[in-house]
Amino acid sequence: MNPNATPIARPDLGVAMFDFAAEYAESPERALRRLQFLLLDEDTCLARVALLQTLADADDEPARDAGQPAEAFGEEIALLCEEGVLAAHAAGRLDAGVVGRLDRLTRDPDRLWRAHQALTADVPDAREHAPPEHAAPASATASALAGAACSDTTVVAAPDAGSPEFTSLAGAGRWSELGKRLQPYLPDMLRLARLPDTLADELRQFLLERARAVPLAGRRFGDLLPQWLTEFAQAHGSAPARPLTRADWLAVLEGWSVRTVLEAAPAGEPDWAREFRRRALRHGVASGPELLRLTLPEAAARASALPMFRRDLLSQIQNERDKALRLFELN
């Protein structure tokens, strides 16, 4: 690296080196604004991360608490991304404990970077976060249009096509949404780990705790899941025969997609179609090719619409699988 080359980063060095706790004691508002800036400006945050990592490398006296689990700062990251530190301060909700944890956050390079990523991530569903519009729009007609926008679902992407994948949800500290989105896949994960469906809530909790505690550090949530599921299975005395692989996950998602489509029978479907679904479920069909090979009772086999029905099911399965692959980032 040429030491005289123009740097590619343009950090604010003052903020990159600032001492949050000391500044907070003098001027809380200024300290909080500088914290907000540190977390918003990529180059400044990177400079802080680089400084902390370089200091850690230069430290020849390892910390006494080395080996202990690091703080996750999940609540602080959620505070930054949801209510906002300036709003929390204005409402008198920043007590000494929170300020202390925010200070420690500024000294933890991994969590600091994670907080930056969470704060600067796109807000996928604006309806959840935006307050109602009340700033003066350009004109009376524009005002009417802006009012319409608040209830217009076309403002955001279609729910599934634009759904954030698990890594983004974890990065943004959106734990309840992450838990909700994991829910449908839990029974299949448990089956893969040879555990009963009754452990679904416990598994969800376990995965959320892992996601909070383990820095993703460039890894995707979907890549870490097999390892976490293995740990969960071991804790319940049912270790899988071999380490779980990407192929296992693909099979789980395929099986889940098939079952989801088969179980979603619309009202008014002909009897032969219902019988087709029931039969497929009974035989434990878990993939598109298996669905094609499924032998049918005579009445169903004679239905002229069967080929189209089967193609339609396959297409729905494909859609469900694609959505799941996106969520798990396996696409």
């Binding site: 740097p7 800036f37 918003l40 990529e42 400079a47 906002g84 929390a88 807000v123 976060h129 350009a138």
Partner: protein, 201 residues
């Protein structure tokens, strides 16, 4: 900013069409496209603004007002073939907020940030920036005295209080505080020598 409001049938136009109109020289068309694009994406923009303003209602409202003026003023920088309008508008908004916070925390500003589409000039990968920063900070740290390096490790990385550092060193905490400040100033000067600048300690 007095903008013409598009007729209601503009609501059926697709985003790409509006984006092209926004960037064109036809002033009434560009204005109408802007109002319609803003209407479509207002929730996304507001959500992003509120989060990035740390929940500060005053700053958020100011940022949204500045966005209207700035996006219109800088519309010639928007190139529809290089990316979506909403991505460009979010970049404009991000720069407005960063600038606002910077101005609020510093006595002097350091110039306007460039409006660039993410797809316009791809930003350097953060890993590359981090590697560069680490290399240069590492060089600079080696130029500090061991005592200065030590206080930076203890205070900046480990968060040890000045009082405790003072007790350990058998010196008043103010002496330690001054040493930390001096070490940072020196590090800052060394980094400036490597092309970095901006901000105050």
């Amino acid at each position: 900013m007095g903008l013409d409001v598009p007729p209601p049938d503009w609501q059926s136009r697709d985003d790409r069409d509006l984006e092209r109109l926004f960037a064109c020289d036809d002033l009434p068309g560009a204005q109408a496209a802007f109002v319609e694009l803003r209407r479509r994406f207002v929730n996304e923009l507001r959500a992003q603004a509120l989060r990035r303003c740390g929940g500060s209602q005053g700053m958020f409202e100011e940022a949204m007002q500045r966005l209207d003026a700035r996006a219109w003023e800088k519309r010639r920088l928007y190139k529809p073939e290089r990316g979506r309008w909403i991505a460009w508008a979010k970049t404009v908004l991000r720069n407005i907020i960063v600038q606002m916070i910077r101005d609020l925390t510093r006595d002097q500003g350091c110039g306007e940030l460039p409006e660039q589409l993410p797809a316009h000039e791809p930003a350097a990968d953060w890993r590359l920036k981090l590697a560069e920063l680490k290399a240069k900070i590492g060089d600079c740290l080696r130029n500090l005295k061991p005592k200065e390096r030590r206080v930076l490790i203890l205070r900046t990385l480990k968060g040890v209080s000045y009082q405790r550092l003072g007790e350990q060193a058998g010196q008043p905490w103010q002496t330690i505080s001054t040493r930390v400040h001096r070490a940072k100033k020196k590090l800052r000067k060394l980094l400036e020598g490597k092309g970095y600048d901006g901000g105050e300690l």
